[in-house]
Subunit: 322 residues, 2 copies
Amino acid sequence: MITIKDVAERANVSPSTASRALRQIGYISKETHDSVFKAASELGYIANSTAQQLKTRNFRTVGFIISDSNNEYYFSILSDIQKMLTENGMNLIIAFSSENPVDEETCFRSLIASRVSTIFFTPTNDQNGEIISVAKKNGIKVVQLFRDIYSDLDTIINDDESGCRQAAETLLSLGCKRLLLIDVEYLYLESERVRPDRSTGFLQALKGSGAEYDILRFPLVDYDVGVLTQRIDAFRPDGIITATNIAGLEVLTHLKDREHAGIRFITFDDNRWLQFCTLSAIRQNTAILTDSIREAVCTQSEAPRKVLIPQDLVLRRDALLD
Amino acid sequence: MITIKDVAERANVSPSTASRALRQIGYISKETHDSVFKAASELGYIANSTAQQLKTRNFRTVGFIISDSNNEYYFSILSDIQKMLTENGMNLIIAFSSENPVDEETCFRSLIASRVSTIFFTPTNDQNGEIISVAKKNGIKVVQLFRDIYSDLDTIINDDESGCRQAAETLLSLGCKRLLLIDVEYLYLESERVRPDRSTGFLQALKGSGAEYDILRFPLVDYDVGVLTQRIDAFRPDGIITATNIAGLEVLTHLKDREHAGIRFITFDDNRWLQFCTLSAIRQNTAILTDSIREAVCTQSEAPRKVLIPQDLVLRRDALLD
DNA sequence: TTGAAAGCGCTAACAG
DNA sequence: CTGTTAGCGCTTTCAA
């Protein structure tokens, strides 16, 4: 390991002078500046940011807890977020809560130990207030993403409720009479506690439409696909909305196998494969999301800030109707 | 911020005693142990791992540089890697090189500054030996993933050469007479410098088969899709192999648009959408990969270790042949 | 069994 | 303009 002491010795200055020279701070003579930079480059010196942070109490790392590693939506936003953080001189540490409170707490502990400046997480339950307050006691900002569970936290969510309402209205306007929504079932959370709620938007669209409808709440992980397929076969919908890509794929696979036809389909979370299959989807707004995250990282507000991000419905010629 | 001093004061012991008690190391009386733990839990104390690492010189973080954030393959392996690291008490920092040497160097600098124990990266070029040696000078192990560019580094690669040979042999055995391989064009690397090389396996399979063939090297990012489609239209293949999902999607989109038929298709990097579309793919072995990464992180070898991971061809009823 | 002291690598305050 | 000193939070001798 090469330290600033090594650089200082080689340049015949004190460590503090070397430090100031390298950071271009304060008054440094041209000669000192040059000799320090020369020494640093010859030695291959790179400042230990761990020690810097300890000293300056200025923690330039952000923690990101992904709740569902199978959900590609997370990864589609990750590189934008990382790029934005780099532009702001920050690092990104990621962790996975696997949709359960115990892992979520472990993630928190690990990120708190690393003294990240901010933790972004998608709450898997409403019982982890303890560790959240420990984070805050340690000067860490905590922001909940995509699920508004803890009312006292900064919150950034996609407007899934309105997205789902749009999707249902569109299906109705296309002539559907029997709509099925595959919403999310949370293992450690009452559905009623979770905002935004796709079912709410769904019901608003259906109110007074005269159409039949059904809602299945389906787990994000460790699910039994039979529950899904039986419900489809029993209800016989002519339009289906799925809350995630994964559920969407299960639905599509089932419909294809059974050679169903004429069932219209919209899923949350657009991607290139949906585009290729000319399937309709609800597209999240990554730009606004990244921007909100940047703001959350860079500003320190008092009152909890709530951000609601609008989303688009992308209609495509539905392959299943061909 | 809550420090061990706070805990020590509340428990009426010295910081060093508190430290030993919390880490269950050395001789500690039952009473001290209990009072220290009580104080820590009441205060919500979590040890600052930054300071711990500075002291113990034991860096429990791994850096991972993703070269292409559009390539979902990276994300499909990330959660397994992260889980494995967690089990071994380590953290994961990710960074993105965006397939260019400048960003790659920036990533290295940032990870070296964080004093990660190991850096995994997919080389985007062969000119960054300088920063790699700086990493090593700072006691950081460097492992190249998926591309064998620097001969003196630990290396973990998928056996794309054999995978491509298998794919080509299979297409030939299915009766194809005109094979097109869409291989990767590297912006900052001569193709000949990159191992494994899909084209090599492709050519081995074709040798003596009497079939016609063509190879197009296509960029991973910022590509012109017209180059791809024109080549397909000009060569009129009856079998296509693509090196990435992204190129694969472009090929499929083109073939669908033009209502081509009877063209067999195999792509690298299997996923659930390919499965749904009943498209054939070459499937990487994530278990072996994760295991190799664990070994690289946990053991310190002298000579550079080279790991070659075998992969499977998954044949599915090709939707385009229906 | 516990505490005092030193020091990991770095920077900020203060003298010079 | 530069060096000395102290200390971030933690652990590790070493002495008590």
